[in-house]
Symmetry: D4
Subunit: 217 residues, 8 copies
Amino acid sequence: TRRGVPEAILAEGKTPAEVGSLAVTAVETAGRALVTRAEHAHRDAVEGAVANAHPEADVVVDERSRVVVVHALDFEPPALDATVGLVSAGTSDAVPLGEADAVASEMGADVRRVEDVGVASIARLLDRVDDLRACDVVVVAAGREGALPTVVAGLLDAPVIGLPVSTGYGHGGEGEAAMLGMLQSCTVLSAVNVDAGFVAGAQAGLIARRIDAARAE
Amino acid sequence: TRRGVPEAILAEGKTPAEVGSLAVTAVETAGRALVTRAEHAHRDAVEGAVANAHPEADVVVDERSRVVVVHALDFEPPALDATVGLVSAGTSDAVPLGEADAVASEMGADVRRVEDVGVASIARLLDRVDDLRACDVVVVAAGREGALPTVVAGLLDAPVIGLPVSTGYGHGGEGEAAMLGMLQSCTVLSAVNVDAGFVAGAQAGLIARRIDAARAE
Amino acid sequence: TRRGVPEAILAEGKTPAEVGSLAVTAVETAGRALVTRAEHAHRDAVEGAVANAHPEADVVVDERSRVVVVHALDFEPPALDATVGLVSAGTSDAVPLGEADAVASEMGADVRRVEDVGVASIARLLDRVDDLRACDVVVVAAGREGALPTVVAGLLDAPVIGLPVSTGYGHGGEGEAAMLGMLQSCTVLSAVNVDAGFVAGAQAGLIARRIDAARAE
Amino acid sequence: TRRGVPEAILAEGKTPAEVGSLAVTAVETAGRALVTRAEHAHRDAVEGAVANAHPEADVVVDERSRVVVVHALDFEPPALDATVGLVSAGTSDAVPLGEADAVASEMGADVRRVEDVGVASIARLLDRVDDLRACDVVVVAAGREGALPTVVAGLLDAPVIGLPVSTGYGHGGEGEAAMLGMLQSCTVLSAVNVDAGFVAGAQAGLIARRIDAARAE
Amino acid sequence: TRRGVPEAILAEGKTPAEVGSLAVTAVETAGRALVTRAEHAHRDAVEGAVANAHPEADVVVDERSRVVVVHALDFEPPALDATVGLVSAGTSDAVPLGEADAVASEMGADVRRVEDVGVASIARLLDRVDDLRACDVVVVAAGREGALPTVVAGLLDAPVIGLPVSTGYGHGGEGEAAMLGMLQSCTVLSAVNVDAGFVAGAQAGLIARRIDAARAE
Amino acid sequence: TRRGVPEAILAEGKTPAEVGSLAVTAVETAGRALVTRAEHAHRDAVEGAVANAHPEADVVVDERSRVVVVHALDFEPPALDATVGLVSAGTSDAVPLGEADAVASEMGADVRRVEDVGVASIARLLDRVDDLRACDVVVVAAGREGALPTVVAGLLDAPVIGLPVSTGYGHGGEGEAAMLGMLQSCTVLSAVNVDAGFVAGAQAGLIARRIDAARAE
Amino acid sequence: TRRGVPEAILAEGKTPAEVGSLAVTAVETAGRALVTRAEHAHRDAVEGAVANAHPEADVVVDERSRVVVVHALDFEPPALDATVGLVSAGTSDAVPLGEADAVASEMGADVRRVEDVGVASIARLLDRVDDLRACDVVVVAAGREGALPTVVAGLLDAPVIGLPVSTGYGHGGEGEAAMLGMLQSCTVLSAVNVDAGFVAGAQAGLIARRIDAARAE
Amino acid sequence: TRRGVPEAILAEGKTPAEVGSLAVTAVETAGRALVTRAEHAHRDAVEGAVANAHPEADVVVDERSRVVVVHALDFEPPALDATVGLVSAGTSDAVPLGEADAVASEMGADVRRVEDVGVASIARLLDRVDDLRACDVVVVAAGREGALPTVVAGLLDAPVIGLPVSTGYGHGGEGEAAMLGMLQSCTVLSAVNVDAGFVAGAQAGLIARRIDAARAE
Ligand SMILES: Nc1ncnc2c1ncn2[C@@H]1O[C@H](COP(=O)(O)O)[C@@H](O)[C@H]1O
Ligand SMILES: Nc1ncnc2c1ncn2[C@@H]1O[C@H](COP(=O)(O)O)[C@@H](O)[C@H]1O
Ligand SMILES: Nc1ncnc2c1ncn2[C@@H]1O[C@H](COP(=O)(O)O)[C@@H](O)[C@H]1O
Ligand SMILES: Nc1ncnc2c1ncn2[C@@H]1O[C@H](COP(=O)(O)O)[C@@H](O)[C@H]1O
Ligand SMILES: [Mg+2]
Ligand SMILES: [Mg+2]
Ligand SMILES: [Mg+2]
Ligand SMILES: [Mg+2]
Ligand SMILES: [Mg+2]
Ligand SMILES: [Mg+2]
Ligand SMILES: [Mg+2]
Ligand SMILES: [Mg+2]
């Protein structure tokens, strides 16, 4: 676990058996496993392989975001004195937002989610600003035109990380519009690649670790 | 003047002499001339050529938007009972917004401008919503990530026309991010090409003409 | 239903069960549901879920455009005194044109369709111009080179909304050629994204609502 | 002169002196020179160099299309019994159309021009169809959305060669929209690259040569 | 059959039943049907539908190019006094080359094929040049870098039509490299879109018709 | 100064007079001005305008990075207990790195620069790792293939912000290769747009402010 | 076998039967067959067809890289006095690296593999530099940001061939980031197309053949 | 001079004074300087600065390729027993070919040039094949469709390095067509970026060094 970032196993493009076996190895070498983009067959394979090799280990599946987290019996999760906000425009941002949640949580951050506050109905977002003001760093996921991180960054003091999501269609619909929108943002923010929820959550986790350390000084 | 849309002379890529002579011809055949993207030399040439051929004609130059409008002495401008709103995110949107203003005004619409209300400071936009609620159709210009039309369309009942502006830099900075953002907008709107202020204003003018006619029925 | 635009459920990428349940919720909260890009399984699921929860509701399926509309027993559809024209180049434009039809109709507009008048046989289009002259606003769908909206806008006084369709192949065949053609159009028009029939129809509906209101003044 | 196609000297990117000297060499080796995209300085240099080396040679400059043609005193131009039609949408297509004219004429074809018949005013085109029906092959130049070749090909029996022109602006404005439109054309035609008037005219000339030979059989 | 070009039915994206029924209609209205990109199920459906409705009609299936041609009993195919050459770089060009063959043959041209003469082994091409010199117009199909049309056009007097094929992989492998190569060709030629064998063959057919008419004068 | 980020004046595309007057206004309203991408004429204009209006103000010009900073006599710069590292691959990264330096410094961060440690000579980078280990957040600028941020992030615990620079040539040379490389990075990092030194420095400054606040708790 | 490069059969897009029959033909005409991108069905078909036609031939299947090599009983493989290094960033580069291995080995080179030395952990690479210093030419495969060839070329004297791999996701993830990164490399190297392991290995083999010949002089 | 490759000074984008001073430093530290893309002012500045600081040094300017080479009085150029072939399609490839020549020569290779053998006249190339057969490695420069390296590699045993040149126009004319063509080549070769003559020559030089060493063993 370099930099406190858990090694993740990207299930997409791997067979269920491969993923199951990689998960067991991760539990043995690092005390835990984090599997992303897991289809049903991948989840079953992880549950089966872990149950077999380490029946006492703890397996948590998040259906919506397709993430599986496994902890060895004696794994001691870190706990940081720092809060990561996770914001989404709509329900279709759930997969990358859930990946960001999983990795930031595994890094020990206190995670706070604010969902379904897309820019089409700006009032819903304004209602939740106070929740976000309490966060040390905020990841904002948005598809289509990807405008939400710009608006959020204009309302907060904390650093914002934009997470473009591939939920459009037609011209620019594979997340390019959202990606370009975040790179062109007229408020200060940095961004990760399309659907890279793992990266966004880990970058937020790295910032949270620094803040936690500063608080502990 | 097909559909009430004045024939415009795009000065860019033409010599001052050519533009001057085209303007005189337009005044003679259509009663008026509308010149866009005019540099100083183009403006001087138009003023000179018109002063020479039609000393009594009226020439109005808009420095900021680089538009020149010429009316023959006896030109009777149309007047519509319909309002076109023109919204911009920032000062760099002035050229295309001014083109839209000129053409919509020439078509007879009552034009109302709401400027500098970019999404980075959402409060400034909310302060002006009432002004916009009075419009029959609204053109919204925005560069960078081009998010403003989406937010405006979420606040209004009137149809919105997105006008992407080429004011970014780096990846997607020639207006592509703004263009794609408007095409992917999660609120209903239609769009015109990058920097096509003339087209946006004329489309708004066509809608205003229909509404004016309906009011007159 | 913001701005009179019915919330649509995009079936693509959702399971039949999800779509069925979203449709029931929509009927309960908004009095109606509009489902687009519905495969057979989606249609069956909607019919089943609605029959179960609201046996008296009215379900209409349009096979060709893959749209399903559900009205609660007591839903009172709006009726506008305004006409939306819908034009298509060929039979492969039927899906987006049907989406535009459904949403404009649901918004209360009087819809008039003129189909199969592509620019390859210009005479067929000229035969139908009088039908189109009676419309307040016209949506024109075209794939391949997408030239039809330009030609139509050159023949009419009403505003035209271009709707590019992804029916080409090879270089530019996913609708890019049609999309770019409409953005570059040498007659005034605005456009929506590739295959965005819902957006085109809704934008036409918003214009129709303004015209209806003006007629009623 | 391979295939009867005169070697052309593309002045763009060359110094006037280079172009002048290349022109003299061409006159000496091939009996003639054809210079395209010549600025004033290039034209002067060609006139000067030819006047010096071959005072009796014939130099013809076409201001509008920036083409210079030089014939040695004893050059015997070919004459074909075949007609090439050259169609343009607007005045900004003059440079590539003029290049096509020069090369087809030099190859001996009988050239017939039909200009300013863009698709925005379809009636102007229909008025000229009879002129075009007399041609053996037709080159159609168009910028912006490039729809004209499609419409022309739908009206004629002769083969059509599309010539996209870089006269747009914004997204797709360097001729990509026109290029893609011609490749996606829903009527049968072939195309050349953006602004490649020389190539379009030469391809038409090659077809004219075959037809002339067939007539002579 | 406009311009002598048979209306083709593109099977791709249609159900077998639809294609079968379209084929029967074509036979009834035009005396023949030409189906391209037909999978096995499409071919079976066409054979079945035709056998049922017009048992005496003639159905020819070309396995390699996935083309089906149906002639009514009394259909009188045209015959032109003109030769179309069809050249391919490799075996993977067979589908578009076969489409070009079918349409040019149906238009009545005398078709001559020269296959597997890609530029990697230039000697194989040089061996076949005499065969090609006898053609009135030549279609050259090539994938990967698409260089073959350039080389062929440098060896022949006849007009050449480039047909890019989508047989590459990686960067530029969907036919873009071949398409761009033909547009940039340093010998004179025109081109059609990627995999547009039908268009290339029909354009060759249109030229052949003109030459046939000229021979008959 | 939202979020402690100084409003910056982008000189590019503005006249010297405009920039001078904007700088004076900024000094009057915010106590300071930060001008980026200033040519000589812009710098002279700022110095002149400030000298005139506020002769006692402090003007600092950084030739290499084309940044000008103006402080009013009574401006009290913030000071943070947090360190921002700034790393560059080569000398051509100086402009964006200098922008990042200026804004992070103006936000009060302690800035540490490590320059000319591109991946072509990995040893030079390894020699400087200890300097970087002392930083709370690190901005890494790199052009060409943009690999440096990936390597740096693999060596440090602190969060890394990638800053792609437009210093390549040929295919991907406007910074696209560097931009894509950072988005695809196989170590965790976030990125800003090409040449967006201001944004990178400000994002680092926002993180530094949070850490400073945490240290102060 | 031109230039000593074995003709390869690309199984992708061919039926198992076709591949089996092509392999038998290759064994008969060239003494060996090299099949790439073979799925299980392709491998079975090759084994079956060869077992049937040439039971004494030698068939070697490499599961990981999906390559099958067949040698006729009397095939005498070449042996070169030259070493080709093959380097990979991670396990997902195995397919193209294995193709490169197969073809370089078949050309007779002495192949040395150094795997899993991606730039995220630079120390792992530095540990293996001595192994690479012994090679005459080195192929370096890398996906994601594709930085590894640049770093390797900075450490070695031998020529380096970059092999981009399509193992990213999101923006630039089909190997474009890696491809562009190698073309922009700030150390000297040449590159092949995305996933073109066969080409990279063959180019290395051609260099090895020249070096072997030089050693033999 | 890493790997024997001389550090080159790219004059483009630098002031004459900077280039002059960099050249003097290079002569002092490495015994020589290699300046590419030098305009007249750059050349004058180099000549002046060197004449001043090291009057005895040797300065060679190549007008056509805009390269300047400076050798200190006591610089001992390397000499390799290996031949690099340099092939070009046309005169406009002279700049990158000259860069390749300069760097390969400075690395000590024996350079042989074969120019103006573009694929439009295949016979000219075939006449020169014997010259090329004597080379150990061959760089092939080509613009437009960039087909020449493919054809050359089909005729030779030696490794070929493709060098795409930005000499087209229109769609794909900035060297993309040539670049993609080389990446898609149906004969084995590797490539460098557009106009990267320096890189191509240096890669050939690295191969020549290996061969020279092998000959010396
Ligand atoms: N959902 C995800 N999004 C982005 N990166 C991921 C994701 N899951 C895993 N990764 C990264 O990909 C690496 C695993 O790649 P692989 O070796 O192909 O399984 C991990 O070390 C993570 O850095
Ligand atoms: N066929 C369609 N084309 C374009 N937009 C649509 C379509 N159907 C639904 N939408 C829009 O997409 C939204 C639904 O997205 P979702 O929440 O993913 O179901 C609706 O509110 C509409 O604004
Ligand atoms: N205006 C033009 N458009 C397209 N191709 C041209 C044009 N003028 C010249 N050419 C072609 O470019 C070649 C000249 O290129 P160059 O050797 O650079 O002068 C000629 O042989 C023609 O094939
Ligand atoms: N894995 C591979 N990667 C790149 N090129 C390949 C590969 N396998 C085969 N080839 C090339 O593709 C040609 C075969 O193409 P085909 O005729 O379609 O089988 C061979 O001659 C090789 O030059
Ligand atoms: Mg959004
Ligand atoms: Mg904006
Ligand atoms: Mg159309
Ligand atoms: Mg046009
Ligand atoms: Mg080829
Ligand atoms: Mg770098
Ligand atoms: Mg890598
Ligand atoms: Mg070439």
